[in-house]
């Protein structure tokens, strides 16, 4: 799209507007433009979501007000939002790291489940003795969660690195396989009373919550925010440091921008593909571990309403910056929390889709400048 050329810019039917749309590549991108465009994109997305809601007979204003209140209205509710945000931060980080290298890890959902599985196995299979203290149990669960998640990231990573197999499809297929594997354990091997869940873990395997301190600080009563949030924040800082301060991060970003230049600079792309996918999977696995150790305290069927997929949107909205993932996750956490009560059931998913779509569409404004010029 250069200058005012190309017949493509004429409207169908030969309609001529009184002005001309001139599109030219933008030479300099001011720093404030990017966040502004993102915000506008989200607002437009919310508007469109409201439109769809109205079309199916819902009340958008009431729905949105409900979401705001149900997510951020009070301390208790905000605490619940943070609980939902915790796994989102992890999957958002996992996706950000991989996407920085243009590795499309769509398998964060599966890696999340595998992390939960790993953490459960060490408890349920007795690797952690039943009477072990919390300071022993939790770290072991953490390591197990990360390792299992990393292994689940390793598979698509290795396939891509060695056999050039498209990681989008392999990581996605592994999601389904992971869920089936978890089902095997909760319906079969460790099923509790025939229900689709395992027995509850011992107290030592529970992540501490704010409400545990309710005796000393009555205000914390009933707040379910758990220590996993600390893991998440620490992970965000570490990932930020890796990406923007370390040598490895430089290599990752270079590979993502131009793999041929990275090869020319002597960087080993094969090795990095595998390692970055493992890092990504490991972080998602940590999310899974934190979710079961902090929220449900057992392995069960529905531990994730699509955290892995929402993580993709969060990563994109955060422009792949780990620190920005934090506030964005809180926003989406609120959306998911409050969205549970909205009818029809597909609405939160729909709004997420519209948001991502608007974000992508809006990026054109970063690359091009659009001017309306009066026709003489």
């Amino acid at each position: 799209m250069t200058g005012s050329d190309s017949a493509e810019s004429r409207l169908p039917g030969g309609i001529r507007l009184p002005f001309e749309i001139q599109v030219e590549p933008r030479l300099h991108v001011p720093r404030w433009l990017s966040p502004l465009i993102s915000v506008i994109a989200i607002l437009v997305a919310l508007l469109l979501g409201a439109l769809v809601l109205a079309l199916v007979g819902g009340d958008p204003v009431r729905a949105y007000a409900h979401i705001a209140g149900a997510a951020f209205g009070s301390l208790g509710v905000f605490s619940d939002t943070l609980v939902k945000a915790t796994p989102l931060i992890m999957t958002g980080l996992a996706c950000s790291v991989a996407f920085q290298m243009k590795l499309w890890n769509i398998g964060a959902e599966g890696q999340f489940y595998m992390g939960a599985l790993g953490a459960s196995i060490v408890i349920l299979a007795g690797v952690v003795p039943a009477d072990a203290p919390r300071l022993v149990a939790i770290p072991i669960m953490l390591v197990a969660g990360v390792v299992f998640g990393a292994a689940w990231g390793l598979v698509p990573g290795w396939l891509k690195a060695r056999l050039r197999v498209n990681e989008i499809i392999t990581s996605l297929m592994l999601n389904y396989i992971a869920i089936a594997l978890v089902n095997y354990f909760i319906f079969g091997v460790w099923s509790e009373g025939g229900f689709q869940m395992t027995r509850t873990f011992q107290q030592a395997a529970w992540l501490p919550r704010l409400s545990d301190l309710a005796e000393q600080f009555p205000i914390l009563r009933g707040l379910t925010t758990h220590f996993g949030l600390v893991f998440a924040v620490v992970a965000a800082v570490i990932v930020w440091y890796i990406l923007f301060r370390s040598l490895w991060g430089y290599e990752i970003r270079l590979i993502g921008d131009n793999p041929r230049a990275a090869k020319y600079a002597g960087i080993n792309i094969t090795r990095n593909t595998v390692f970055v996918m493992m890092l990504s999977g490991g972080i998602a696995g940590l999310g899974g571990m934190s979710e079961i150790a902090g929220v449900v305290h057992r392995l069960q069927g529905s531990i994730s309403p699509g955290y892995g997929f929402t993580g993709i949107i969060i990563a994109w909205l955060a422009k792949l910056n780990p620190l920005v993932v934090l506030p964005v996750s809180v926003l989406f956490g609120g959306l998911i929390l409050a969205g549970r009560e909205i009818q029809p059931a597909g609405v939160p998913r729909l709004i997420q889709g519209i948001i991502l779509f608007m974000l992508i569409a809006s990026e054109v404004f970063l690359r091009y400048r659009i001017r309306l010029v009066r026709r003489p």
Partner: protein
């Protein structure tokens, strides 16, 4: 565990995959990667079912399905062709959109409908061919026969016609195509919509013929993604796409049936109503897809062929190179 039944069902399910895969082949040959197949199939399935239930007209349902999915793919087209956004992420967004829209608008749809809403046919002479007759031409949905026609037509169009030459040119070297006077944008838009419409048709085939009804996301159960993988296995060729689709359909049926009989090949059937092994069987289609991808990728590497050269890259005219 009747091989005849398995193959018969395989052809039926395979037809769904065939439509989606060939549609995506058209889009990718033009250079546009559309990962939103799952979402478009869902929209197609939902709209076909709801329209047919409301009007009683199956054909109308299919047409609406194609229009809905095609319209959605148009969004993908605008964003990736005109706005030059990243095709991968846009496709993912499309999946979310399609899934979300189908869930929202499909809310409250009467889930009944175990009977097929489209006619089933048996072709008189062909049905008597030994072996193939009972599988291919006996009591198959009309959509299956449509699939049989689509494969050679698609192949012929792509490889032996002038518009097919243009299609391939646009995906291999859009700069050259543009210089020769082809409208790269118009062609890409057209084929993206063709791909979308065929995905919608695939969805409609599920909800009207193969597994009639609307079961939210379970309606497609990941088949859109499997179709994306099949395109690579098919090496962008309609015949291989059909083969892959039918094989996959047969696999699916095998997984279902293998849990039934008490004895398998004379030995006690380990899968017989075993709750545990059932889950491993569930994994098979997805593991199969991965295997198929590996095969396809290795072949592409070996033959130094593979994807259309410009696949996934936005086209900007008049780029001033250095």
């Amino acid at each position: 565990m009747d091989p005849l039944i398995i193959l018969h069902a395989g052809v039926a399910t395979g037809t769904v995959l065939l439509f989606a895969t060939i549609g995506e082949i058209f889009a990718e040959r033009a250079g546009v990667l559309n990962l939103g197949l799952e979402g478009m199939m869902l929209i197609g399935a939902m709209s076909a079912f709801s329209v047919t239930v409301a009007t009683g007209n199956g054909l109308l349902g299919l047409i609406v399905a194609m229009l809905a999915a095609g319209g959605l793919s148009l969004l993908h087209g605008v964003v990736t062709i005109h706005f030059q956004a990243d095709q991968v992420v846009s496709g993912l967004a499309l999946t979310f959109l399609g899934t979300g829209l189908s869930l929202v608008f499909g809310e409250g749809l009467n889930k009944a409908g175990a009977i097929s809403l489209l006619p089933t046919l048996t072709i008189p002479v062909l049905a008597s061919i030994p072996v193939l007759g009972p599988i291919l031409f006996t009591k198959q949905s009309v959509m299956v026969y449509l699939g049989y026609l689509l494969v050679p037509v698609a192949w012929f169009y792509i490889n032996r016609t002038r518009p097919g030459l243009h299609l391939r040119a646009v995906g291999e070297n859009p700069t050259a195509a543009d210089a020769m006077g082809l409208s790269v944008y118009r062609l890409r838009y057209s084929y993206v919509m063709v791909g979308g419409s065929l995905a919608g048709l695939a969805g409609g085939t599920i909800s009207l013929a193969i597994s009639p009804g609307w079961f939210s996301e379970l309606t497609t159960g990941g088949m859109g993604w499997i179709a994306v993988g099949l395109v690579i296995f098919a090496q962008w060729d309609p015949w291989r796409a059909a083969f892959g689709g039918y094989a996959f359909g047969a696999l699916r049926r095998t997984i279902l049936d293998i849990q039934g009989p008490q004895t398998l090949l004379g030995l006690r059937n380990p899968f017989f109503f075993n709750p545990y092994f059932g889950f491993f069987l569930q994994m098979l289609p997805y593991a199969f897809t991965i295997a198929v991808l590996i095969i396809g990728s290795r072949e592409a590497l070996r033959k130094r062929l593979g994807a259309p050269a410009a696949l996934g890259l936005p086209y900007v005219r008049g780029e001033r190179g250095h």
